[in-house]
């Protein structure tokens, strides 16, 4: 880490950090993921997005964990927003979004928080593309880079990784960021909002583990392209809803 994290500062802020984990049919992975996250953050909000399996049950009654339940499946963006709304209502100062499928490492969370605690930025985005990165599967890399170019053109943000589920937001930034897409295209919408409000942001290297499980749960190139179209569609309809 380039920012030296002052331990006392970190402890000071610990109570106000909420990690939001949207989960859909993740009964196999969710408990392990939540246990890992609890080692680096005091509050975890799991949003069970209308799962058909035992996702909610497998994290029920854990200390420091609140499970919110969508009665029907509404998608990644919708579940993330619900988790954020809850965290803010509980007085969160910083909210971290974390994927439920085990592709993120809890030990990356402190590095994500450091720039916000230091007061340098409002939004920290994880990136899997950096010099010490593990190899990203070729097709996945192609579609992710497509998303990077897309974000550069549409929102004007120069990122190296536009669709990474590991992010941290200051309370101030979340009070401005307003997103409505229910599905994965919310990821693009959030970045668009970061650009629109000229929020200060920074990318921080994180490690993504590509297990057969997380790859299966991830998106194909075709799906990524559809996401782009979905996001643009949302941008158009936004003009009509206001």
């Amino acid at each position: 880490m380039e920012w030296g994290v002052n331990k006392s500062i970190q402890i000071n802020y610990m109570q106000n950090i909420f990690v939001v984990i949207p989960a859909y049919n993740e009964e196999k992975k969710i408990r392990g993921v939540v246990e890992g996250v609890l080692r680096v953050a005091p509050h975890v909000v799991v949003v069970d997005d209308g799962s058909n399996d035992e996702t909610a049950k497998s994290v029920a009654n854990m200390e420091g964990v609140r499970v919110l339940r969508h009665i029907i499946n509404r998608g990644y963006g919708a579940a993330t927003k619900t988790g954020i709304a809850y965290a803010l209502s509980m007085g969160a100062d910083v909210v971290v979004t974390f994927d439920a499928d085990g592709q993120h490492r809890p030990e990356d969370v402190p590095a994500l928080l450091a720039p916000i605690h230091a007061g340098f930025v409002d939004v920290v985005l994880g990136t899997r593309f950096h010099k010490n990165a593990l190899k990203v599967p070729f097709l996945r890399k192609f579609s992710l880079k497509l998303a990077v170019v897309f974000t550069r053109i549409i929102s004007g943000l120069r990122l190296t990784d536009a669709h990474n589920g590991l992010r941290a937001f200051s309370r101030k930034s979340l009070e401005k960021i307003d997103f409505h897409k229910n599905g994965m295209s919310a990821a693009s919408e959030i970045l668009d909002e970061v650009a629109r409000h000229k929020l200060l942001y920074q990318e921080v290297p994180v490690v993504i583990s590509y297990t057969p499980y997380s790859v299966k749960k991830g998106q194909s190139t075709f799906k990524k392209i559809m996401l782009g179209l979905d996001f643009i569609g949302g941008k158009i309809t936004r003009l009509y809803h206001k």
């Binding site: 509404r74 919708a78 927003k81 619900t82 809850y86 229910n182």
Partner: protein
């Protein structure tokens, strides 16, 4: 007047639609006013199917060669517009459903918290 096969198909289809909306009107699923408006549209369509050449003069006025072309252009535009409207409507409905689901989730969490405090 020679009746072509396509005319027969279209006439049968339009008559079926007219019967359908008449039934809906009788069951009061739609108002009489709506019935007349919809019926008028389909009666107009029926007239165009029966006397396709009647649309030619309107087409010529607009610089289009044939009346049928005019109808096709008009229909395509209308459908494109309708799809656009439906798309926007659908987005709004999707959003509203999510908002409902979110409120329920947050409300349940709030209640749980109250219980835990007691």
């Amino acid at each position: 007047m020679r009746v072509t096969p396509i005319q027969v198909i279209l006439i049968l289809a339009i008559v079926a639609i007219l019967i359908g909306i008449a039934r809906k009107a009788l069951k009061r699923d739609i108002t009489i006013r709506e019935f007349f408006l919809i019926a008028l549209f389909w009666l107009f369509s029926l007239a165009v199917v029966l006397w396709p050449n009647a649309t030619n003069s309107a087409a010529h006025l607009l610089g289009i060669g044939r009346g049928t072309d005019l109808i096709v252009y008009f229909a395509t535009l209308s459908i494109a517009y309708a799809v656009f409207r439906i798309f926007i409507r659908l987005e709004k409905v999707e959003r509203d459903i999510t908002e409902l689901v979110r409120r329920i989730a947050l409300k349940n969490a709030e209640e749980k918290e109250k219980k835990e405090k007691l």
